[in-house]
């Protein structure tokens, strides 16, 4: 169980799940990996916390300064939730100029390839099959390390240069594949 960061640079994860048992579990898992954790029980509460309006008007934002203060480094959400699904939440986050760069991980108890692909296409970094385990916590770190506030590594510079000429759509897919590739190398 590697220590992720000192108290100064503790990463803050927002976890979203409608199941009280899974909320307790994910909170404990994240805390044992030394993350600061906020847990909410729905997509709309997550958006509220992130300072984003959850009504029909996509992209209507309430408070930019509030968002900066909150400082969420990663969002991990269940897929099947009543009302707003994890996928709906993912779309809202990726559709928001202030939130789109926050990495999002989707959790699901069902291993449905089309569902997984849909989420990855929409910009999710990872898909965790439930029940989430301690070993899954190791898969979170690489996504946090790519955060803007981290130092740029030679590898990421190379990757950026290579994808300059490709369309945004292909770049996103490429980045996702790279993420999976690098992560498999690191494991």
């Amino acid at each position: 169980m590697a220590q992720v960061a000192t108290m100064d640079h503790q990463f803050h994860v927002l976890a979203v799940d409608d199941s009280i048992i899974d909320r307790k579990l994910i909170e404990r898992l994240l805390k044992t990996s030394s993350y600061q954790v906020t847990v909410v029980d729905s997509g709309s509460k997550a958006l509220e916390y992130l300072g984003l309006s959850s009504d029909e008007n996509e992209g209507v934002e309430i408070d930019h300064s509030h968002v900066r203060e909150i400082g969420i480094n990663l969002i991990i959400t269940d897929y099947s939730m009543p009302g707003m699904t994890g996928y709906d939440l993912l779309r809202k986050i990726k559709g928001s100029s202030s939130l789109k760069d926050i990495p999002v991980i989707i959790m699901s108890s069902e291993n449905v390839p089309s569902r997984i692909n849909r989420c990855l296409e929409e910009g999710a970094e990872e898909f965790f099959l439930k029940p989430v385990q301690q070993s899954d916590m190791n898969r979170i770190k690489p996504h946090l390390m790519r955060e803007k506030r981290q130092k740029v590594t030679p590898n990421s510079l190379k990757r950026k240069a290579m994808v300059e000429c490709i369309s945004p759509e292909k770049t996103r897919k490429y980045n996702n594949l790279c993420g999976i590739f690098w992560q498999n190398i690191c494991e």
Partner: protein
């Protein structure tokens, strides 16, 4: 009973729960998440599971008792129960949910009622066993012993 004997009983009992399929590896995961800073983690999660399951089983009973059964709703409840039992490692309860969802899809009320009956039985069994396990733990602690870590 002296501590050593209690501890042996505990290990035997715990092993039987795994061997007989009442608990699976996920329960071990919960145990691994328990430490000095969170000494009651397993009991807390399991207690939530008991509350949640009893609520769902009640909801299922009511839903299947309706003249026009809302199978979507029934399926939603079973899905939740499957998820929570999976998260705590209650393997037999989880396994009961799979056929339940099939007969739900077929909108077969009779078969659903049979599945519900089975799940209730399995739930009561595992609840009883886990409560026995926790009691054994308490007895060990009261006798001044440490609870054995299972591999």
């Amino acid at each position: 009973m002296e501590v050593g004997q209690l501890q042996r009983s505990f290990i035997e009992y715990m092993s039987s729960l795994f061997n007989e399929g009442f608990l699976d590896a996920q329960f071990s995961q919960l145990q691994q998440l328990q430490d000095e800073s969170n000494p009651d983690f397993v009991v807390e999660v399991v207690s939530l599971f008991f509350e949640d399951s009893e609520r769902l089983l009640n909801d299922l009973t009511m839903a299947l008792d309706q003249p026009n059964v809302d199978f979507k709703q029934v399926d939603a409840h079973v899905h939740q129960l499957k998820g929570s039992s999976s998260s705590v490692g209650a393997q037999r309860v989880k396994n009961c949910c799979v056929p339940f969802r099939s007969v739900c899809e077929e909108k077969n009320t009779e078969a659903c009622l049979r599945c519900l009956q089975q799940i209730k039985q399995e739930y009561l069994l595992v609840k009883n066993k886990l409560q026995t396990l926790f009691e054994l733990e308490q007895q060990i602690v009261a006798a001044g012993g440490a609870i054995p870590m299972m591999q």
